[in-house]
Symmetry: C2
Subunit: 253 residues, 2 copies
DNA sequence: CGAAGGCTTGATAGACCTCAAACACAGTGG
DNA sequence: CCACTGTGTTTGAGGTCTATCAAGCCTTCG
């Protein structure tokens, strides 16, 4: 498992090294999903959990009227459907947004693992609690903040989580965040996302392009989003970028 | 522990009877909170978890601009701050909405308990997963549904959860659901909640009075809310009321 | 180079908010 | 028993944020 993203598996989550080694060894050989493929489906009962090693995925709930709400994003090191270990059937859908590598942990193996290493159960339980904290934050974001604040907040969250996963390049990140995706995540329409993004760009805060996000003014953006990373708990305890670095050459042009 | 509400502690959550007895015995003597009192506070690190035995509470996040978002409601049998066992400090506030009885489970006792009864750890982990499912559903509710649908959905959820806790009286429930509360829970304003409630009443679906909710047409209300109780998982496996019972004498007048 | 998907922009409409005031109702004190 | 007070409900008028509809443009990729 040579992926930088796996840092989180081996160093994060309060695992001892014996635990993280046992965890890593329990994972099967990875499989690759293309962008658009579904990794876990609503209504299905799983007999294994999917660990996202590399790539990027979204959790969605599709409504009867066809429109989809994104519930959160899945980043390297996260589990896609951890809850299926205890709760079936699965109640939303996880799909890849770019080529994504997934390793499986069969429930039977998982159960044996947490019996042998009770500390691991607590680590994964803790992971689900952090996920829940993110859901709560999104609820607050969507319910109480306007479009401008909402988008800023979301871009900040992704930045900090990408940073915690060791995937930050200068002050930006390379993710396929289409405007439709941002709309589905914030409960807005593409048209309005487009206009709001233009404003954020004009104000020199952030530029969102089809395949990458460049943050020009972290302090400005996190102020605009009323962003406080506390809710991400240990998922994001790394450094927060200092004052106002202009290091976006790699992502601007 | 003579409370009907404690059914859930002893029969729910997949606990074996040995486990639920051990759990019940680990709880300290209850304390009562008056309406408005805070049971757990944002920013504080707890060394015990609070179990709600009787009463009704809300989870809130207060914004800088003063307005508060309700994240979910806490019903008898639920834990108020289960996450503090693994995640500190606490990231929102829980406060009583009526006289509420709380029993405490010190973290040290809790840890010992789950070491002796590993199955209990899974039961509580599962409880946090169901909480997370409720947060996701609220996010979808707030982000994608209009006021009319949103309110119907919320009233359905509370009905089903109250039913699972054994607290349903005819086709209604006695909870102090002020319009301001419903507004904070749905991300609407009191004024708009008032108008929407009037519409729901005129259509013969439900009547919300300061201290009780009377459902006149369950099928109609759950259709109006696009309500599907699946996300509540076992938290609500009881009966769903049959066709169209007109049994609301006790709550109407 | 043409197709497809995503981005951009304009004009119009609607759901919900804001402000403001009147109205019910339960509990309190005289 | 009745004013009194406070909290919560109800109603009206006007404003705004965001959605909807529609069309043109750009970029990527086979």
């Amino acid at each position: 498992m040579p992926h930088a993203a796996l840092l989180r598996l081996t160093s994060g989550f309060d695992m001892t090294s014996a635990e993280s080694v046992a965890y890593a060894e329990a994972l099967g050989t990875p499989r690759t999903f293309a962008a658009g493929e579904e990794i876990a489906r609503e209504g299905e009962s799983a007999d294994r959990c999917a660990v996202l090693l590399e790539g990027f995925a979204k959790r969605t709930r599709v409504q009867a009227d066809g429109n989809a709400q994104i519930l959160s994003f899945v980043l390297p090191g996260d589990m896609c459907d951890l809850q299926t270990l205890l709760l079936n059937p699965f109640d939303h859908t996880v799909s890849a947004l770019m080529p994504t590598r997934i390793a499986y942990l069969p429930h039977a193996v998982f159960r044996r693992l947490i019996v042998q290493h009770p500390g691991l159960a607590l680590s994964f339980w803790r992971e689900s609690l952090i996920d829940a904290a993110i859901f709560r934050e999104w609820m607050v974001n969507i319910a109480t903040r306007d479009a401008y604040t909402r988008l800023s907040h979301l871009l900040c969250e992704i930045y900090v989580r990408m940073d915690a996963a060791g995937l930050i390049d200068k002050l930006g990140y390379g993710l396929p965040l289409s405007q439709q995706l941002l709309a589905d995540a914030t409960g807005l329409t593409v048209v309005h996302v487009n206009r709001t993004l233009k404003r954020l760009k004009n104000e020199g805060l952030v530029t969102v392009r089809p395949r990458a996000v460049a943050i020009h003014d972290w302090n400005g953006l996190s102020a605009a989003g009323g962003f406080n990373p506390a809710y991400l708990h240990s998922k994001a305890v790394r450094k927060v970028p200092a004052a106002a670095p202009a290091a976006d050459q790699g992502l601007m042009h």
